[in-house]
Symmetry: C2
Subunit: 285 residues, 2 copies
């Protein structure tokens, strides 16, 4: 997906929010703003938005001297996810349709996204979980179920820390021996990396690889050879979150994008209002 | 007032909205965005926000080749104001406190601001007029009334087309022989210029001068010598709208700023929530 003109003001807002989360030093905030402004002035708008997201957080890491300003935030959301896990597991187990319930909860977990929001509190997560069980879902669960049943080599692209616990629930309801879970190759925003996969128990459940890069999405040009091989060999890809949708909406494989619509640009692009829960099937090219 | 970091994303949003209002050519939108990004990267944040507002609209005029992209919009709002005028005049006349009612309506007219909003429809104007008659007002009307009664040389700085009709109502309830009304020196957004003063009947009521420049506020450095002389000689200044507040909040004279709070930055700066009606007195230095 291209970068839309409406993404530009949002990049600046995200940069400012992220800089403020990383440090209270207003001189750093100003430095970050000026560098993002300058870089965005020359941005190739044909590239997907996560490219600029990656750049913004690289600038923030350089300006703050912190390799992972979101480290404690990610731990917090992982702990929150693990605290909610036993009840969520029961909810799935007691459901008439455990797969649908697990998908719904996995989408609910996608609310833990500090790229789209300044902060997400526990009450909001709980409220979104509650809503997610009954809210209309855009897309076909049975199409997803059928594709999953047939596929022999499934790549599941994760999104955020905290959310990864919700993905674990979904993967536990699937045939897990066919699934490889993918995390980012390095810290960016609160996106999940290998340590989050370890903390959430994902590494004990399925093979976990990283994509070799630190964009808040999956920018294939930048990904490692090992990831690209896994991506090309997969007969089905499950991709969580807006960032993966933005970066892979034109990719080759058969993909199910699973996410919450979090901004007006994606709402206009998908035709699903902001707040929608989406399971969007993209056929193989 | 300085330019706050939170103004930066908003500049980009305003630039995009304004470019879209001026033309449907997306190549022009992109050109405007890139130039605003580049200029903002080097902006002096100690300057007030209207400086960048002025720059944005200069870029749009250059990119579209249109000297006044808002010409028809201004005419529309002037006509709307004139259509509402007879009823508003009655409302003031029948009020127990005509001055307070006229001030409230003048603040209501400040909603017609295309710098802060993408568009303002007639229903919104009518609804804001209705609310303005009873909504809490931040500041002292009696302090304003006392100062107006004493002053012998009052400069009334106008703001937008359409809104100028509401200012006419207020000026009609005041001792008009002491008042000079000021419009912008050239077109910017939907700000009032001399032709709007003529259309609204303001020129028949009081002396009307322009400030010699085309910023959406009053940037004294840029104003004409004639305006600066009038500004220095005034013993009281009435300044309508956020743009005048942003550019004159540190100026020398005794000023009453009369405006609606339209953004979180001004809300934080003034301590009055967004949507507040404000009559803010700044003593002479």
């Amino acid at each position: 997906m291209q970068t839309y003109h409406d993404c530009i003001p949002c990049f600046l807002k995200q940069a400012l929010n992220a800089a403020r989360l990383a440090t209270s030093d207003t001189a750093v905030h100003e430095h970050v703003l000026r560098r993002v402004l300058s870089d965005t002035a020359d941005l190739n708008f044909n590239q997907p938005p996560p490219l600029m997201g990656q750049r913004i957080h690289q600038i923030i890491r350089e300006a703050t001297g912190s390799a992972d300003p979101y480290d404690s935030v990610k731990k917090h959301y992982n702990q929150l996810g693990m605290a909610l896990y036993p009840d969520l597991k029961k909810t799935v187990g007691q459901s008439d349709n455990p797969l649908e319930t697990a998908i719904r909860l996995s989408i609910a977990g996608n609310i833990i996204d500090l790229g789209a929001a300044e902060s997400v509190d526990e009450a909001e997560v709980t409220s979104v979980i509650e809503q997610s069980l009954t809210q209309a879902l855009e897309g076909s669960i049975s199409a997803f179920q059928n594709a999953m049943a047939k596929a022999e080599n499934i790549l599941f692209l994760g999104d955020n820390a905290g959310e990864i616990v919700f993905d674990r629930l979904l993967i536990e309801t699937l045939q897990r021996d066919h699934i490889t879970y993918v995390v980012r190759g390095g810290p960016v925003i609160n996106d999940a990396t290998r340590s989050d996969a370890e903390f959430s128990g994902m590494t004990e459940l399925v093979d976990v690889i990283d994509n070799g890069t630190n964009a808040p999405g999956t920018l294939l040009d930048q990904c490692s050879g090992a990831f690209k091989k896994a991506f090309d060999n997969a007969d089905l890809v499950v991709a969580k979150g807006q960032g993966n949708f933005e970066s892979l909406s034109d990719a080759d494989p058969h993909i199910f994008f699973i996410f919450k619509v979090k901004c007006p640009v994606i709402a206009a692009h998908t035709g699903c209002p902001t707040g929608s829960m989406v399971i969007h099937e993209k056929p193989a090219k």
